[in-house]
């Protein structure tokens, strides 16, 4: 059961052991459910994370479709406003904490050891624990929907005092669930940092690491910095609800705005936690299919670090209408606008990488290219939102909903899809069915734009977010969005089909599954055996 530890003399190369050879037979894992409960193998835990995330993606998606079905036309037809509020809240919480974040952690588990030539994660038992906290946390969270008074109904941002004094009794369970999920994130982040800093193959410097590893290293530091702030703010809520304190209650001398400062000090870095690994994925895939090295590797690393640092200085742009003093308003407007600079550097780098390449359009590349275009559109609306005077009109409208869905769905989610198609040959030993994957891609692109593009107009025309019913002038936009949402939602079943088919069979993939790929993971066989790099590989810096 003991995980394979790195050899004591990592620089000594054994001639007889080839990287990627099978584990000795006496390490045979237990069978059945126990194998998955007790596994400390980074590949198995990675798969657990990814499967969990996919299940949660569908649960969160069903909640979204309940919302879109109700908003298909004016009037209340399907659900009451109370349940509608629970759906918007749960959709946000599940997608952020249970779908997108675990998906990236799953990819990190699978790919970081393979990309840096390490035999496993640095802390394998902790790795097992980090994963198994998640099903506990989210079973608890989902169970609140069946409690008296219903589940959380105050939005995924849970502003006090709506989430304290005026909240349903189940809020205490919501707080516990979020605490557990937060511990899982922090432990996962510690593990990733320890792995990247200590277990790189001999000869691999920090500036040789694939960008996916770099962006995850920076993301992990963000997680460690801000998850405790979230833990703090929900503990203060817990005290207000159950122990008579008044942190956020004006009647007791507290401050409801303090809640928002604390929440967004966590919340803004949190949104970068959900996008930086996506930058890494796209920065790995685009050079592969352009058959040309990334244009500016160092500037990509510095841009990622700048975005991470700036993310701590922009939180109050979520609070432009709470009545900040003018000086604060100006500071946060300027700092937010600054983020456009390193983000621009990234986009220019991707495009310059394409320039004079030799480009082919396999499904991972298609999702990555869609990411570049649609994430940039989300970036543009982000820049508009940064302009504080204009934000007085945009704030809390569907324009904001359009903005953050553009950066999270064709942003983060498309990058995760791209990563899955890119690495499925390594995981399963088979290429995914390209024809079905292309169908999945085009239906998703059409669906996602049909869903979220009209939301810009609905918001500008005056529709606030989080309302179960709306005035008649917003009806056309909402009908289009709802049609798009159902198209996008059902298209994702194709993804499940492609994955299942790919696990069961398909065209055999060689070790180097893609012509232009040259990171270390492509030196081990496909599918990657349970244990890889028991002897560290000989890392050769590519001569550029």
């Amino acid at each position: 059961m003991a995980p394979k530890l790195p050899p004591t003399h990592p620089l000594e190369h054994s001639v007889t052991t080839v990287a990627g050879s099978q584990a000795p037979a006496h390490h045979a894992p237990p069978r059945g459910i126990l194998r998955w409960l007790l596994t400390t193998n980074h590949k198995e835990i990675g798969s657990l994370y990814l499967i969990f995330s996919l299940i949660m993606f569908f649960i969160g998606g069903i909640f979204a479709l309940v919302i879109r079905a109700e908003l298909f036309q004016p009037g209340l037809q399907l659900v009451n406003p109370e349940f509608f509020n629970q759906m918007t809240t749960m959709h946000g919480l599940i997608m952020v904490f249970a779908a997108v974040m675990p998906a990236f952690t799953g990819l990190a588990n699978w790919m970081i050891p393979l990309q840096i030539g390490a035999p496993d994660m640095a802390l394998p038992r902790l790795n097992n624990f980090s994963f198994w906290l998640l099903p506990v946390a989210f079973t608890l969270l989902l169970s609140t929907l069946f409690m008296p008074g219903g589940g959380p109904n105050f939005g995924w941002t849970f502003y006090a005092p709506l989430s304290t004094t005026y909240a349903p009794p189940s809020t205490t369970f919501f707080i516990l669930a979020l605490h557990i999920a937060g511990i899982s994130s922090i432990l996962g982040a510690i593990n990733i940092i320890a792995t990247i800093l200590n277990m790189r193959a001999p000869g691999m410097r920090m500036m040789d690491m694939p960008l996916f590893v770099w962006t995850w290293l920076i993301t992990a530091f963000l997680l460690i910095a801000v998850m405790p702030v979230l833990a703090g703010v929900i503990t203060m809520m817990l005290m207000d609800i159950n122990f008579g304190t008044s942190f956020f209650s004006a009647a007791g001398g507290g401050d409801p705005v303090l809640f928002q400062h604390l929440f967004w000090f966590f919340g803004h870095p949190e949104v970068y936690i959900m996008i930086l690994p996506a930058f890494g994925i796209v920065s790995v895939i685009i050079p592969t299919f352009a058959r040309k090295p990334l244009f500016g590797y160092p500037s990509m690393v510095y841009a990622t670090a700048s975005i991470a640092l700036l993310s701590f200085m922009v939180w109050a742009h979520h609070m432009f209408v709470v009545g900040l003093p003018l000086a604060a308003e100006l500071f946060f407007m300027y700092s937010t606008m600054l983020i456009a600079v390193p983000t621009g550097v990234k986009i220019f780098n991707w495009i310059t990488t394409l320039f004079r390449g030799s480009i082919s359009f396999e499904s991972p590349m298609l999702f990555s290219l869609a990411f570049v275009v649609l994430f940039t559109i989300g970036g543009f609306s982000g820049l508009m939102l940064a302009i504080s005077p204009a934000d007085f009109q945009y704030h809390d409208t569907y324009f904001v909903v359009a903005h953050f869905h553009y950066v999270l769905v064709p942003g983060a989610v498309f990058a995760i899809m791209a990563a899955a198609y890119y690495w499925l040959p390594k995981w399963t030993g088979h290429y995914p069915n390209e024809r079905l994957a292309q169908w999945h891609f085009w239906l998703s692109v059409i669906g996602v734009n049909l869903t979220f593009f009209p939301m810009h107009f609905a918001g500008l025309a005056g529709m606030p977010r989080r309302i179960p019913d709306y005035a008649l002038q917003f009806a056309d936009f909402n009908m289009l969005s709802s049609i798009g949402a159902f198209l996008f939602g059902f298209s994702q079943l194709l993804f499940v089909l492609v994955v299942v088919l790919c696990v069961r069979g398909g065209k055999k993939a060689p070790a180097q599954a893609w012509e232009g790929a040259w990171d270390l993971e492509w030196t081990v066989p496909s599918p990657a055996p349970l244990h890889t790099f028991e002897t560290p590989p000989d890392f050769k810096r590519p001569t550029l």
Binding site: F154, A250, R291, Y334, G357, F380, G462, I467
Partner: protein
């Protein structure tokens, strides 16, 4: 579900939803100088984004088309170019500075709430707005007037579905009006797009904003911050009128308020109290306790057949006046006048089979409030 199908099959799905406003796609230019400036900023940054987008996506799609592997493109191997990298860092920075300058000017103007001609207090309450004209002794609450039957689909939609109220906020044009904004319960946000005013109303805080309207008209908006179950049913209507017309309206309102105050001193008949009480209940209480007094437990207790309420008149009256701390039941001490309080207490004690026969006089309530 049945109403859904009825709606889908009815052929006027698209016809009936023609935008009410001519400009239903974009941010309105609005009717104040500030709203015009914000609209200008919005369009400027929009076109800047369009131009950048055209250049960036143009370069991208050119590369995708020109350097296709399938057409035998051979990859170059270049990377890193300091001049190019400095160029694409500085140019965006300069564009940003260009945007920041006018944005700063507009924001500074928006924050200047000094020298107002009229102060209006705006108080958010679950789920209505209260307006108090400071120094004028005129105050009222503004509730959504769209019938619930329209929302549930039993009746057709009215022209201003969900954006109509019983008492609009009346304001004069060409005067600087300062808004002082707060809340009695959770955070709300007062937003009228045509006035470009969106400001959170926060319990325990008073936020300031201002407006100087250029054109008379009716301007509609709604609560923009999630504030609970009826967040979507908290519209705002502003009726902006010529100054003389406004002054006349103000005089009439003052007289009406005085008449109402006189009512405290006389005996009220049971019937009068019940009629008045029903109106107050429907506009203030029914959103939580429901029209038939059945409530929505556990958050909103039932009033019909509520034993404590039926047995304890003292407690009942006090609860309406002071609210219940730690729950959604607010204090109505300052929101309702003694006539309204007495009539709504009387109504709830006698409606829906709560036949206690008690009537409460406005004079008694006034005494109780004074204590």
């Amino acid at each position: 579900m049945r109403s859904l199908w009825r709606w889908i099959v009815s052929s006027n799905v698209f016809l009936s939803t023609t935008p009410v406003h001519a400009n239903g796609w974009n941010m309105p230019r609005g009717v104040t100088d500030v709203s015009g400036e914000i609209y200008g900023l919005h369009m400027t940054i929009f076109w800047i984004c369009v131009v950048i987008g055209a250049v960036v996506f143009g370069a991208m799609f050119y590369s995708l088309f020109r350097y296709r592997h399938s057409k035998g493109a051979k990859a170059a191997n270049f990377h890193e170019h300091t001049t190019v990298e400095i160029f694409w860092t500085t140019i965006p920075l300069l564009i940003l500075v260009g945007i920041a300058v006018p944005a700063t000017a507009t924001l500074t103007k928006m924050y200047d709430t000094s020298e107002a001609d009229l102060d209006v207090m705006i108080i958010g309450q679950q789920w209505r707005w209260r307006y108090e004209y400071l120094g004028e002794e005129v105050a009222f609450t503004s509730n959504m007037s769209t019938p619930r039957a329209q929302i549930s689909g039993e009746e057709g939609f009215g022209e201003h579905y969900l954006q109509e109220v019983d008492e609009p906020l009346v304001l004069p044009i060409n005067r600087k009006i300062r808004f002082l904004m707060t809340s009695d319960d959770v955070i709300h946000s007062w937003w009228v797009p045509e006035l470009a005013v969106k400001q959170d109303t926060i319990p325990g805080f008073i936020n300031e904003n201002w407006v100087n309207i250029n054109e008379p008209g009716v301007y509609r908006g709604q609560c923009a911050e999630l504030c609970g179950i009826d967040h979507g049913f908290m519209p705002i209507v502003v009726h902006a009128m010529e100054e003389a017309e406004f002054d006349e309206w103000m005089l009439e309102r003052k007289e009406a308020m005085e008449q109402e105050a006189l009512g405290v001193d006389r005996e009220w008949e049971m019937q009068e109290l019940m009629a008045r009480g029903e109106t107050v209940f429907e506009s203030i209480c029914a959103s939580c306790h429901q029209s038939e007094g059945q409530g929505a437990p556990p958050a909103f207790p039932a009033l019909a057949g509520n034993e404590r309420l039926i047995e304890d008149l003292e407690w009942h009256a006090q609860t309406v006046i002071d609210g219940v701390s730690g729950t959604a039941m607010p204090s109505f001490r300052n929101t309702l006048n003694p006539v309204e309080l007495a009539s709504v207490v009387t109504y709830t004690r006698n409606a829906w089979g709560n036949d206690t026969g008690d009537s409460v006089q406005p004079g008694d309530i006034a005494k109780r409030i004074a204590e």
